[in-house]
Amino acid sequence: MTDTETKQKSPGAWQLFLQGREARWKNFIENWKIFRSNSLSTIGLVLIFLFGIMVFAHPILINTVWNPRIYDPYLGYDPDPVTHPSPPSREHIFGTDGMGRDVFSQVLYGARMSFSVGIAAAITAVTLSTIFGGLAGFYGGAADLLLMGISDVFILMPVLIILLLIGVLVKLNWLAIAIIYGILSGLGRQAIVIKSHTMSIKNKPFIDAARISGGGNFHILTHHIIPNLLPVALVHAVITVVGAVLTESLLSFFSRTHDYMTWGSMIWLGQKTFRWFALSGQWNALIPPALAIMLFCSAFFMVGRALDDVINPRLRNR
């Protein structure tokens, strides 16, 4: 009799896991509904998905349908239309640029670079800001003074100028830009925001409960503080992607990078070509990359804003 009662009161580990999964799933569905209620967020997700397809489409197309001699983003040349740049046609959806290369292929190729820059920068920034902000907010005192002192310095740095300065020193590629951008933005404003969130989490009752039941500092940090910081960190990661991609495009527009085929450098080339062929008005080499940058950044931005609505209940449309 007593045996069965205790069994009913304390479910086994497997049952606990199942219940937890169910609760998490319900929570996810609820959050998904809030996320979907903002119509812009759906557009953003679809756009990100499309850009993801573009990343994988380019190598597949180059290996199967497209002739690499014509469609290679760097070295391709189409001898068929005699005058380059040529307007959109059946072979070249966005036409060709001044050197006879296919613009559509270049746009597809540039998506890879932008995704890499954005994601690398976001990972760097979020890792650094979670570590710095979490430690400073949790321990306080000397750690706070030291870590936030570093933050105070980094918040003063104008990112673009620091990147231009470093660009004289080393050859910047996408990884260097992403990591430097991640360090500057992660240690600057983001760390301060994460710190204030940590301080508000630290004062909640469940932290006291964990401490009473014997949890050490490290356990509380890894099992309670950081999981609760993750939603905030995710929003910041998504917003960092926007800034990183815009900065990278600007740098490659100024031809300060050593990745020669990105959306920014395409705009630079298209603008040069535009000046040479001013009368014909070659918009077709210029608009696709610019539109790509804008749509890519706004997609991430809209998703970030919708995530912000999800984690911050005060923002939901009432």
Binding site: G149, V153, F254, A278, L286, A290, D308
Partner: protein, 383 residues
């Protein structure tokens, strides 16, 4: 309170020293120095190096620079030898302020106003479209937007000039320098803008619609008359008109690029205030909708937006390199670019430390203001 302010300022001084050290180190590890760019014999190069103080050990250069910096002496620029850095910057600051400060203030006004409207009419086509416009404005690529504006309104439609700022057809018989005109444009612009702000604040104190509107209209007319009279008396009005004509396109581009950020921020903060109880009370009292919006919801949502403005204003000094290059607006951003290219250490350090100090002062002021406004923070910080 006083203890907190002193501690915050001391921390600020330490911060600025570390900031300078990092930047100085960054510049020092660049693989060449300024004399590399001069075509010189080896011994003349050595002479030039000793003239500029580049042959000293790095730590001596650093301490010399730091000492000069705290004595408010930024040294001589290498590019424009022997002009002091301060003078090089002062020659360009009026152009930067005329374009970027005006643009950012206008963008903030437009952004706050649109954000207010978007929140107030939420859930319809208005909110959807304007949020979309804000996102597009925030994420569009600056050089491309500038290029499109230049081509459509300058080249195709010919509404605005797209050639150089100093149009020779206008300026060939001018008796003053362009800087003279631009500086006075900035000054008159700011005096009239602050008078307009004062007017709008003053006219809100009158509850009668007729009184407030007549104050607004007559005040605006008086300010316009004053500005017109100033330029009429100085006799250089036609030059100012030429400069304003050239200013329009870059100004509109910068506003288009930057109003979205403010609008979205205003929307976010106002959505937070709109659920508060005092809004409900104001509605229950039967106040008109626009008064609840302007005096109760927007005013309480204003502080975070103001914070962003104060934090962003120092970077206005650097301007936007992309806009300046496309419109050929020779202001501060182009100088920064040249200083980086030719490793003009004093000029670069001068600009960056100026920006750093301004940003730091902004941060300190905001911190003190926050502590002053929120007693809970005061307790936490001081004790």
């Amino acid at each position: 309170m006083a203890r907190f302010i002193i501690r915050r300022i001391l921390r600020g001084v330490i911060t600025i020293v570390i900031f300078q050290t990092l930047l100085f180190g960054l510049i020092q590890i660049l693989p060449y120095d300024f004399t590399t760019f001069l075509v010189l014999q080896p011994e003349s190069r050595r002479l030039a190096q000793s003239e500029l103080g580049l042959n000293l050990p790095v730590w001596q250069q650093y301490f010399k620079w730091l000492g000069d910096f705290f004595r408010l002496d930024l040294g001589l620029s290498y590019i424009a030898w022997p002009t002091p850095v301060i003078d090089v910057l002062a020659g360009r600051v009026s152009r930067t302020l005329l374009l970027f400060l005006t643009a950012s203030i206008l963008a903030y006004i437009i952004g706050i106003w649109l954000g207010k409207l978007v929140v107030w009419q939420r859930g319809g086509w208005f909110e959807f479209n304007f949020t979309l416009v804000g996102v597009i404005s925030y994420t569009s690529f600056a050089p491309f937007l500038a290029f499109v504006m230049l081509n459509i309104f300058g080249y195709y439609l010919r509404w605005f000039p797209y050639q150089r700022l100093i149009d020779h057809n206008v300026w060939y018989m001018a008796t003053v320098t362009p800087e003279w005109v631009i500086t006075r444009l900035v000054i008159t612009g700011f005096i009239s803008m602050s008078l307009l702000f004062f007017l709008s604040w003053f006219s809100q104190r009158f509850n009668k619609k007729f009184t407030s509107w007549s104050i607004r209209i007559w005040g605006t007319l008086l300010i316009a008359l004053g500005v017109w009279g100033f330029w009429k008396l100085s006799g250089q009005g036609w030059l100012a008109v030429s400069i304003l004509d050239h200013l329009t396109l870059p100004l509109v581009s910068v506003i288009l690029l930057s109003f979205g950020e403010t609008m979205l921020l205003m929307r976010t903060t106002m959505l937070e205030t709109i659920g508060e109880n005092y809004i409900l009370l104001a509605k229950a009292k039967g106040l008109p909708s626009h008064i609840i919006r302007d005096r109760h919801a927007a005013r309480n949502a204003f502080f975070p937006v103001l914070t962003r403005l104060v934090l962003n204003l120092p970077y206005v000094i650097i301007g936007s390199l992309a806009i300046e290059l496309v419109f050929n607006w020779q202001a501060m951003g182009v100088i920064v670019f040249q200083a980086i290219e030719f490793q003009d250490i004093p000029l670069l350090m001068g600009i960056l430390s100026l920006v750093g100090i301004m940003a730091l002062v902004g941060h300190i002021i905001l911190d003190i203001l926050q502590i002053y406004l929120d007693p809970r923070l005061r307790y936490n910080e001081v004790n």
